[in-house]
Amino acid sequence: MSSQSLSKESLPKRSLSKRSLSAPRSPMAAPRSFLWSRRIFLTLLTGFVLLPVYVMLSSSLKPLQDVSGKFRWVPSGLTIRPYIDIWSTVPLAKYFVNSLIVAGAATVLSVVIAIFAAYGVSRYRFRGKRLFTVTVLSTQMFPGILFLLPLFLIYVNIGDATGIALFGSRLGLILTYLTFSLPFSIWMLIGYFESVPRDLDEAAMVDGCGPLGALFRVVVPAAVPGIVAVAVYAFMTAWGEVLFASVMTNDTTRTLAVGLQGYATQNDVYWNQVMAASLVVSVPVVAGFLLLQRYLVAGLTAGAVK
């Protein structure tokens, strides 16, 4: 596909998606039956979605006897005790910090690397371009279980050979997680960068910017929604991963994904504390996600869904 056809195509599409975001379609007046079926469907779906959220919230405020005995819709009394106890039952604060460091670093690195790669693919023609995109995207297909053990062996061997501790360290987890979000991030940013008119970076280069100057002064600022979307995705991926965290961390580097199971595997399960801890670890991501979801939808519209 030639470059000019790309930019010609993507120009109107971008403005179009912007417009339809603010003003969605208004077809002919919807029939009454449609409105009723919509109301019923959406109500049921909301109930299904919110049920665990209600259980999490209400149980986290219940005294222990309420969660050990029969389930109660309405707590017999409210207590914030679980929210105090969660920090001492397991070293939750430590896990929290670990998760923040790992997910934060993985996000920043993943976004920067994806920006470079997507810029390369969207702005240059070179041998092996197709091979690169296909290879990177196809890694999404690999079952995690296939490379879990080999990766463990590689990390151990790199550690033995160079002294850089990857196994059991935060660094190893950061490198692993950032590759999990990389394919999707690159793919989405390619679409997004292609919708940024090429004239803009040409103009910047005429004005004396190098290719990287054009990237950071022109393309990146124009693609902020896409980049935010990618960052949200990368953070959520790293924050929620369980399999590699359960094998690749030790006592000092344990993340929330594994640490949270500390309440559940003991003989007594303090369900109110489990729920309180679940809520506490969810709040940062859910709040961030809900604040930024607009960008994710806009980014998907412009980038991924072509």
């Binding site: 339809s20 240059y124 969810s282 869904v305």
Partner: protein, 329 residues
């Protein structure tokens, strides 16, 4: 804005070398190398974390790799195709269990992907038009997607507890549908449990993608259809669903791969050993590797899984692309 013929940046660099002064030449080399440099970090990390481990995994599948050889896996004796023949000998216990796990995973994936897609599409189509509270509802629907898997799944595990869970309280105590409280996390019911949790967790992604896809459908199409007298349902059937085809092609594939490979949900729900009825393939291989400490066989099973996914993906892409081309004509 009119777009005149703009050559790609790299392209421009090639004929630009008319007077090859040394400075120009290094500039030219830099320009040719630049795209590769831009891709290098991504490529190196993908090699380190995905591609090289995959190759090693394939090599390991031909070795007799027990716990004695973990530190020095190269020294493990070659096993030829023993690991494979053990995995696919469906009359012996190992192969039989793998086959069972495979069928469970297939059934689970088909049901889960189908339901996720259906819920996501119906919700997105219902919410295509603005109405009061639409933005709020959209935010609510995305909560399961935003919640960390382990936090959400642990909550479901609590809800499905036999003695103090919400599900049995409703089904047994309040509605009286069962004679005695059922077990949901062991036995045959665990398949239903897994499916419910997986759909709850997965449908918002379908919703998100379909919603984004809907916004790319030009409004004019609906207006034209409305003028021609097409009703609501007809508009959905003739415009919305066909326009979503390319989106659905990718969406269903991604959902399929994620669901088929899902490890997190069953792992948090059931722990290391999943009940037989919900023994998804990832968990099964994990258990074959880490619980029995037989990594060669586990690797062979992983390779078989990868081959299966490759074949399914290839066939799927060929079929759906051909269908799309035919539809365009």
């Amino acid at each position: 804005m009119t777009v005149t013929a703009q050559p790609a940046v790299g392209e421009e660099a090639l004929p630009g070398a008319t007077g090859p002064t040394p400075r120009r030449r290094t500039g030219r080399v830099r320009r040719i190398a630049l795209p590769y440099l831009l891709l290098l970090p991504a490529l190196l990390l993908e090699l380190l974390v995905h591609l090289v481990p995959m190759v090693i995994g394939i090599v390991m599948s031909f070795k007799e790799l027990t716990q004695f050889y973990i530190r020095d896996w190269g020294a493990a004796p070659w096993a030829g195709f023993d690991n494979y023949s053990l995995s696919v000998d469906f009359d012996a216990p190992v192969g039989e269990a793998l086959l069972h796990s495979f069928f469970v995973t297939c059934a689970f994936t088909v049901l889960s992907v189908g339901l996720c897609w259906l819920l996501g599409t119906v919700a997105a189509v219902y919410m295509q038009e603005t109405f009061r509270g639409r933005g709020f509802l959209r935010a609510i629907f995305l909560i399961p997607y935003a919640l960390p898997v382990y936090a959400a799944v642990i909550t479901w595990a609590f809800m499905f507890q036999r003695d103090n869970g919400l599900v049995n309280h409703v089904l047994h105590d309040q509605l009286g549908l069962t004679d005695s409280p059922s077990f949901w996390l062991i036995g045959d019911n665990s398949f239903v449990t897994l499916l419910v949790v997986s759909v709850w967790k997965g449908w918002p992604f379908a919703f998100l993608i379909v919603m984004a896809g809907l916004q790319n459908i030009p409004k004019e199409l609906y207006e034209a259809a409305a003028i021609d007298g097409a009703g609501m349902l007809q508009q959905i059937r003739r415009i919305t669903l066909p326009s979503l085809r390319p989106v659905n092609q990718v969406l269903v594939l991604v959902l399929f791969l994620w669901t088929f490979n899902d490890f997190n949900t069953p792992y948090v729900l059931f722990g290391k050993a999943a009940p037989e009825a919900a023994d998804l393939i990832s968990i099964h291989i994990y258990q074959s590797s880490f619980v029995t400490w037989n990594f060669g066989t586990g690797s062979a099973m992983s390779v078989l899984l990868l081959l299966f996914l490759l074949v399914v993906t290839g066939v799927y892409l060929i079929l759906t692309s051909r269908g799309r081309r035919a539809a365009d004509v």
